[in-house]
C-alpha cells in the first residue's frame, strides 16, 4: 500500500485541476450502481425521517398484523414470549435493578423501530412487510406502550410528531473522562490490599452448561452431512429436485421448526417423520388446545390434511399457535411435503 498515497495525491491534484472533487475511479474497478439497485438495497431510515417511504397504517390494522406475524415470539400484547424480546412496558425501570428495555421504555428514536421491522422482521420471513404494514405494526407497538391512542394512524407525515420517552436518555461515550483514573502508568505491585475475601462463587449459582453434552454432540460439519441423507428407499420414492425445492421453501419454516439429526423442539415442534404421523404427538412440545383436541380426534397428518393446513394454518385450525400465514402456491406445499418426507424419523 505504500505506493498508494503518492498515487492518490497525484490523482487528487489532477482531478482538482479539472474541478472534479473526486479521487473516484482510482483503479477503475467495479461498475456504477444503478438507481433501481440502490433503491432495492438502500432501505435505512434515519432519526430525521430520511428514508421513510410514503404510507400509513393504523393501530387497528397493526393489531391484526401483529397477531399474525409477530405474536408467536413477542406475545399478543408485545409483552414477549419466553426469552424473545419484550417490545412493550418497562417505563421508568431504567435505573432499577434489571431494567426492562423496550421500544417504549428505552428506544430513543421511532425510526429505529420502523427500520428494523421493515428490514429484518418477521424473524424467518424478513423483508416481506409492505410500507403500510410496517406503519401499522409500529403504530401497534406504540399503542402497546401507551404512547398513542387506539384510533391512531401512523404515517410518514406525522412520524416525527411521536415523542419517544427515552429520547434524552443517552450520552456519548465518556470513558476517557469518567474512567480517566484507569490510565495509570505505575499500577500497584505490592501490598495492594489488606485482606482478600471470596465474596461470590459461580458454583453457588450453578448455571454453567454441562460440558459432557456439547462434547457428545456430533460436530456441526457432520450434522450437515447427515441431514440431507435420507434412507435409501426414500431416495427411490422421492423426486430429488422436488426435495431440493422443498428445502428452499422450508427456510420459511426454519425459524420455528427443526428437522434432521439432533432436531429439537423450538417455537414449533420437530418435524421428523411428520408426514403420515398422528397429530400432536411430538414428545415434550406444548401444543395448543385445538391441536390437542384434533389429536384426540385422531387427526393424521397425511398429505391431504398437511396440504390444507399449510395453505392456511389459521383457517384450517382456528386457534393454532402456528402464526405462519400459509404457503400460497400449491407447488411450494407439494415441495415442502416432499422435503419433510425425506426425514422419515
Amino acid at each position: 500500500m505504500s505506493k498508494c498515497p503518492e498515487f492518490l495525491t497525484a490523482a487528487a491534484l489532477a482531478s482538482a485541476l479539472v474541478a472534479g472533487p473526486a479521487l473516484a475511479n482510482v483503479f477503475g474497478l467495479g461498475r456504477p450502481a444503478l438507481p433501481e439497485e440502490i433503491a432495492a438495497w438502500d432501505l435505512d431510515v434515519s432519526p430525521d425521517g430520511t428514508g421513510l417511504p410514503a404510507g400509513s397504517g393504523s393501530v387497528e390494522d397493526g393489531e391484526m398484523l401483529f397477531a399474525e406475524a409477530c405474536s408467536i415470539c413477542h406475545g399478543d400484547f408485545a409483552e414477549g414470549v419466553d426469552n424473545w424480546p419484550k417490545l412493550a412496558g418497562g417505563e421508568g425501570t431504567l435505573a432499577d435493578k434489571d431494567p426492562l428495555k423496550t421500544v417504549g421504555s428505552y428506544w430513543p428514536y421511532l425510526s429505529t423501530a420502523w427500520d428494523y421491522v421493515h428490514r429484518s422482521m418477521p424473524f424467518g420471513d424478513a423483508q416481506t412487510l409492505s410500507a403500510d404494514d410496517t406503519y401499522a405494526i409500529v403504530a401497534y407497538i406504540l399503542y402497546s406502550n401507551d404512547l398513542v391512542e387506539d384510533n391512531f394512524v401512523l404515517s410518514n407525515e406525522n412520524f416525527l410528531s411521536v415523542e419517544m420517552p427515552n429520547a434524552d436518555g443517552f450520552i456519548l461515550d465518556d470513558r476517557e473522562q469518567t474512567e480517566a483514573h484507569f490510565w495509570t502508568d505505575a499500577p500497584c505491585m505490592e501490598n495492594c490490599k489488606d485482606s482478600v475475601e471470596i465474596t461470590m462463587r459461580a458454583m453457588v449459582l450453578d448455571v454453567t452448561p454441562d460440558e459432557g453434552d456439547a462434547a457428545a454432540e456430533p460436530a456441526p460439519v457432520q450434522d450437515v452431512k447427515a441431514e440431507p441423507a435420507p434412507a435409501p428407499e426414500q431416495t427411490a420414492a422421492l423426486d430429488p429436485e422436488l426435495v431440493a425445492k422443498g428445502e428452499k421453501t422450508f427456510k420459511k419454516c426454519k425459524a420455528c421448526h427443526q428437522v434432521g439429526n439432533g432436531a429439537k423442539n423450538k417455537t414449533g415442534p420437530t418435524l421428523n417423520g411428520i408426514v403420515g404421523a398422528a397429530a400432536g404427538q411430538v414428545h415434550g412440545f406444548k401444543y395448543s388446545k385445538v391441536m390437542k383436541a384434533a389429536a384426540e380426534d385422531g387427526l393424521i397428518w397425511d398429505e391431504t390434511e398437511l396440504t390444507a393446513f399449510l395453505a392456511k394454518p389459521k383457517g384450517y385450525m382456528k386457534g393454532t399457535r402456528m402464526s405462519f400465514a400459509g404457503l400460497k402456491k400449491d407447488a411450494d406445499i407439494e415441495a415442502v411435503i416432499a422435503y419433510l418426507k425425506s426425514f422419515p424419523e
Partner: protein
Amino acid sequence: MSESSPKNAPSRRQFLTGAAAAGAGAVAGGAAGATGPDPLITEVQDWARATGDGVDATPYGLPIQYESDVVRRNVEWLTADTISSINFTPIHALDGTITPQGCAFERHHSGAIELRKQDYRLMINGLVDQPLVFTYEDLERFPRENRIYFCECAANTGMEWAGSQLNGAQFTHGMIHNMEYSGVPLRTLLEEAGVQAQGKWVYVEGADASSNGRSIPLEKAMDDVLVAFKANGEALRKEHGYPVRLVVPGWEGNMWVKWLRRVEVMEGPVESREETSKYTDTLADGTSRKWTWVMDAKSVVTSPSPQAPITHGPGPLVITGLAWSGRGAITGVDVSVDGGKTWMPARLAAPGTDKALTRFYLDYDWDGSEMLLQSRARDGSGYVQPSKAQLREVRGENSIYHNNCIQTWWVKANGEAENVEVS
C-alpha cells in the same frame, strides 16, 4: 436450581476422572518415580506395528478424535433461539494467539447464511461521486493487506456484571477470537467511489435477514477498517461471514458486519437497532452511554481455570492466559496468586501488537496451596485493566457490555478451580 445441580455432576466427574488418570500416570509412568517398566515403552504398541491413514483419508482435516472436547459451546438459557445467539471459543484449551476458525466463537442475528462468491455484490452508495457495485472478483484486484486482529463481542464477560456466574474461561471470556485477515482497506473502496465533503459517517450492513446495520465514523472507516475475505490463510467460514466480512480493529464485534453487502456514506448515524436498543450501556442512574465502540484492555488466565484444572500436583506450573486492548498493543501483564495483594510481571510470549491477542506465561513453582489467581493487562495508552469494583463504582451493575474487569479463579489445593469474586 434443584434441576441444575445434577447437571453439574458430569463435569465434576470429568475432572475427578482426569485427576485420577493423571495420578495413576504419576505412579506408573512418571519418569522419576517409576515403580516398574512402562508398558507403553516396553511393549510394542499397535501404532508402532501397523500403519496409519493414507494421504487420501482426510482431504480437509479436522482435529483428531482425542480433541473432540475442544469445541465451541453455547449457553442455552442466554437466548431464545440458537439462530439468533452466540457461542464461545474454547480459550481454556488453546495456546498461542491465533484462533482456529473451526472453534472461533459465532454470533449471528438471523443465522449463518450460505452466500456464494458468484452471488456476492458489494455496493458503495450515499455521499459519493460515483455509487459503485463490486463483485467478489473485483475485490480481489485491489491492493491487499494482511493484519492480525482480535474480534471481541461487546457482551463478552457480560453475564458477570452482577456476580460470578459461569464456571469456565470459555464462558466468561470466550466471545473472542484472533485471526490473520487478508483483505482490502475500506478506505481504498471508498476512495474508488470518491467520498464527498459532507460525508461524515458510513453505514455498513450485511446481506443476511438481520442486516445488522451499524454506523461508523468516516475517520475510522478511512483508518484501519478492512474488507476481509480470508482468515488464517483460507476463506472465511460461513459462520464468520463468507465470502466477505468487515474487520473493525479494536472495536466491538457487532460492528464487524458479516456477509457485507453495502457501505453508505452519510452525514449522520442511522441509529439502527444495534446501536440504540442494543450495544448501549445503561449506568446506575438510568442514562445510557452510546457509541462505546472501543474494547478496553482486558486479560484472563486461561489455564489453570475451571475447565483446565491442575492435575499434576505441586511443582512446576505453567500459568498462562491472553491479553488484548482495542486502544493499541499490550505492553505488560501482571499475575497475582493472592487475589490482588501482590503482583508479578508475566512473560509475554512475543511483544504485543496493535489490537491483537497477546499470550502471557508465568512459569511458577506451585507449593500446592490454594490460589486466588488473577491477571491484569496494561496497554500502550497507559490504561490498566480495572477490578470489577472499580468498574461498578463508575457504571453500576446494569451494564451488559464492555465488562473488562480483572477475573479471579479460586484454585484449590486439589487443583480444581472456580470462578469467584473477591473483595
